[in-house]
Symmetry: C2
Subunit: 697 residues, 2 copies
Amino acid sequence: QITPADTAAVWDLLHSPAAGLNLTDPPFTASQTDNYVAFIDTLHTNKSAVLPYIDGNGLQPAKFARAVIFEGGRTVPISQEYMIGPLPVSNRTRIQKLDYIFNGGKGGTVPFNARFFDLQRDAASEPLLASVMTEVADITTELFGGVYYGADDDRTDLIYTFDTPVSTDGSSAVRIVMFRYPTEVEFLQPLDFYVILDIPGTDPSKYTLRGIVTNEKFFSTVDKFRQAYDAGEITNPYPQPRDYEWAQLTRKEEMGTRPLENKLAPQSIELGGKRYKIDTQQNYVEYLGWSFYMSWTRQLGLMFFDVKFKGERIIYELSMQEATAQYAGNTPKAASTVYHDTHYGFGAQSAVLVEGFDCPFGATLLNASYPDGRHTTIKPQAICIFEADYGFPLARHRTSSFGPFQGYGFSDLGVVKASALHVRHIATVGNYDYLFDFAFNVDGSLEVGVRASGYLQASPYYKTQGRFGPRVHNSTQGSYHDHVVTFKADFDVLGTKNSFQVTELKTVKQSQPWFPELGEFDQMELQASNLKREKQLNFAENGQAMYTVISERTNAWGEKRGYRITPGHSNIHLTSPNSPFSRKQSEFSKSHLAVTRVHDTEPYANSWQNINLPEAPQHDFAKFFNDESVEDEDITVWFNLGMHHFTRSEDIPVTLFTEASSSILFAPQNFFDRAQEGDLQNRRWIETGEDQDELNF
Amino acid sequence: QITPADTAAVWDLLHSPAAGLNLTDPPFTASQTDNYVAFIDTLHTNKSAVLPYIDGNGLQPAKFARAVIFEGGRTVPISQEYMIGPLPVSNRTRIQKLDYIFNGGKGGTVPFNARFFDLQRDAASEPLLASVMTEVADITTELFGGVYYGADDDRTDLIYTFDTPVSTDGSSAVRIVMFRYPTEVEFLQPLDFYVILDIPGTDPSKYTLRGIVTNEKFFSTVDKFRQAYDAGEITNPYPQPRDYEWAQLTRKEEMGTRPLENKLAPQSIELGGKRYKIDTQQNYVEYLGWSFYMSWTRQLGLMFFDVKFKGERIIYELSMQEATAQYAGNTPKAASTVYHDTHYGFGAQSAVLVEGFDCPFGATLLNASYPDGRHTTIKPQAICIFEADYGFPLARHRTSSFGPFQGYGFSDLGVVKASALHVRHIATVGNYDYLFDFAFNVDGSLEVGVRASGYLQASPYYKTQGRFGPRVHNSTQGSYHDHVVTFKADFDVLGTKNSFQVTELKTVKQSQPWFPELGEFDQMELQASNLKREKQLNFAENGQAMYTVISERTNAWGEKRGYRITPGHSNIHLTSPNSPFSRKQSEFSKSHLAVTRVHDTEPYANSWQNINLPEAPQHDFAKFFNDESVEDEDITVWFNLGMHHFTRSEDIPVTLFTEASSSILFAPQNFFDRAQEGDLQNRRWIETGEDQDELNF
Ligand SMILES: [Ca+2]
Ligand SMILES: [Ca+2]
Ligand SMILES: [Ca+2]
Ligand SMILES: [Ca+2]
Ligand SMILES: [Cu+2]
Ligand SMILES: [Cu+2]
């Protein structure tokens, strides 16, 4: 990560006349036709430079920053990304276009229409929106008891949200405005009123009204809408309540109390004290055989590097890459919405964790920081680290007896305690709170989990649209949507040379000389093979395959040492592979797994501004799959967690973490010669006495 | 459950001359040609009798016992099951054949060849086995350093296990003996030596040697085997070690220690004290809105009845029904093994739980009991009940801001604590320890989980048989196998009239007047329909369907109130649907879900002695599916948990609970008008001060 001093120095360098970028500073004073810095962040260091440094005697690689600059002042306005380094800033530091990590053909360039919809673009389209809404103010007053004369007008008592993506290929832009009541729970208070604007380019005089939608009807002009309204064709049968306490996550006295619930809830406690060590300078953690480094970026939040167990590297990089959400509906907003939440920044949108609630009492809470303009913002207590009870023993056996017996009925019983170190953060991206949890288990397994709470992005309720979700409040439909959260796991199991083995479980015909009466009969067998070429693939039906990243090195029994990728809860991909709103910029979300060769040019599954380019992506994950061999090579596994969010009334006020959960587990598979419980001291070995009524610990 | 006094009185009644059953007492003095009691247990009470009693003013139903009697003394020897009641025993008590719960056509009758392979059958085939092994004692000495002259011979230093099923349709029986070293870890010390005996009927003079198998070769006579041995064709290239400490679940000093691991591991603690109440007389539990009754039987272990949340019934009965395990291999034992572990008894094979390891410190430990002959055996501390931290918040939202901000960066943050009451027991059925865990969550959801630890049932290692599992020790192969654990959930959501709704997630063509440029495009939608007829079905690929048990009663928003069945970890069915060893007696394990109408005649998925009748089942689950309507009727859902056990070296010494895990979740789906977190007091609502650097709790 770059330092606050680096960030300030890079900021100053970019704004220096010598840079020739002609930037407006501070950016909030800029308009969309100015040039200004969108943000500065750390640029990752290429793996090809890191490995010689950490594993050999290579030099420490130079650090670089990246900067996105909105260049609205150009003849053809664009967004352009740059790399700045080496850092710290010196006379050797150069500002270069950052192109090599984007494979869409235009490098770090994004057309204006597709760039992040910031306050400047908002301001440019505001006059047209305000004028349309002013024309219909009498009608919105009657329908919703609200008006919109513009955001800065004191009479305005409606707010709105808008569509994503706003463009398909960057050649045009459409703004779909859906109004809401201006409360803290706006996500649950949608109004059935949509204004659609065409807003191509940077010249607001070319912006036009496409139409108004309400009552499932489209009106291409204000006049046509008014005619329908005057004819009594427009109604509001399910008025949205103006009050909103029902949707706040506060205690509801009217729901009463449950007996004994006033007592403090149970809690996992580090009874024996801390069993992990954190080097906060290096962001380095050690825990019962595990060791890893952590990093934090504005877009991706928490990332892990150089993950080792008992001194052997398992994973070079483990990181969340993207959280896609696609909605279903028959309204201009719900039908078209696809979010990439890194667009808003998982690092930037993380914040304080509540001890005892978000993380157990006694957890270690760490700050996170990221560059925010020229400054570096510190997120206090945004990451927590704690060791928790696994809830189940790790290993257990009791000798048993089938005959009749009394007393304890066994001769010996062994049981070993399981626990895991959790690293957790929560990013609240608008309506949703994503909880990311990485659990390092004492047996050498590693579980990655994500859960979702927070508000539904709801739609107005229509009696006729049950196929898009249930009614969850008086005037609110819980719009069905997919969540797909893409991760990268660059496994380096005992080095970079790995293969991806698929072991299918098949039924074949078998015959045996000792069972002549059976002839040929059905028998299960394992059919193992290495994936030959880069591929996106799905978990087999009924779990009938095992997926393992293996090394050619073998354990004591001659089996290839590997780590297994074991599905957990809700391992899904996007439902609809060919929606115009997620067609080419979301390819990473369309399979359960994907295996590619590692290249310095392909560090990320997605790019920050891909979201508005479904038909002409800046970065196309599908292009990673160019038939390269993935056998005994440096490979990366990409995988998806997520939920098909079948919305329900119990999503009000917020979705529950208990059900909106997804996970995956990486576990040793013939990696060791035996289970790694043998060295643990938190265990019991119990023998019974002669009469089996006595226990000896 | 019947009382110890009932059990003794039933025992005495069965053995009374008046009963006319001519029973040998005590049974261990009997031979296989005598009549004797196999066991007595509680017979469940019919639901049709229970509901009027608990919900109306019906009379308390009469209690009955069931008894399995081995009638080897008959002309056609059989096993016959009886029902005895009403209890307590009086002059009104009758002994009747228990036929009505078995649909195979022969009621409670099981042919001798298929009956439980008890010590009496063992004794009858022992002379033949001993004579064969005596003939080859010189060879087994050279190959394995061991001999078998009979179980009671002092020189004998080998033990054996045998096959399951031993019969296919009851017309014959085959005994496949696989030898092992006689240690506590015998399951991991198989020897490559098999003796196969044909043992039809009760007359040992008709028992014959089918052959000997070793080195993947079959020899139909001892002479042929000796010829091959003399010709040097029989070897033991991977000798099984005689020592066995490597396979014991003890600490291994030679593996060293991990830094800080000497400290006590973390633990979930009931910090606020007990928040649940147990009525140990009624086996009735109340916990934060939940209430339920528990029962315990010899075969099935723990069962739940009348499960309610906030006073409304969700489930009438929730119980484990069967644990099937099917193995793969090319040896006489592994290739043919299918276990039904209720055959050995989950109630009978449960035992003491270790506080702080199997269950948290402070858990409530309850005894379990079951009839064992005339007596009642008490299993001390076999069930634990505790409340645990969920590990994640229940619900959570922070208001967020996309603009630049400092400090805590939000206006308010709500978070609610999640916890669950766990009811747990562990049954050790020979090699395997099954941990059953039922978690009642504060949001009204209920999770059922099963985990497996304990020993692999391993095979001798063959270089050529990698397709059946890896080598896991010098001479030991971890034979691949399926575990499928079948459960019954008789949902009675707001009464007995329910439907089973399947909501499929489909991509369809959509067009919208406000997007003329898109024409027809792909859009997701939900297609909901009720299952019309009884059916076995599988979870949809990629999770693209929701399964809900619904009532016709609606919530405040007009949505039908229901409980959703949500897949968790590893929801699988048997791999091989048409194996001769699991063909018709294991139908319940061949789909993820099944929905049937409730009948008093169909309380169980399986019968106790079905295991040895794959071709002529005593009880055929497939017959439940006779095209009855399941719409707005009293329906039961059957579901399977389990694991495809891709064995690994890390299964040594024992399989780890952390990875061998399966679960399912039942959760309210529009059952309430909103989430049931609103009444919880274990929560935080935090508002920031004006400068966002101050938190107000
Ligand atoms: Ca490639
Ligand atoms: Ca790699
Ligand atoms: Ca039926
Ligand atoms: Ca029912
Ligand atoms: Cu959602
Ligand atoms: Cu297993």
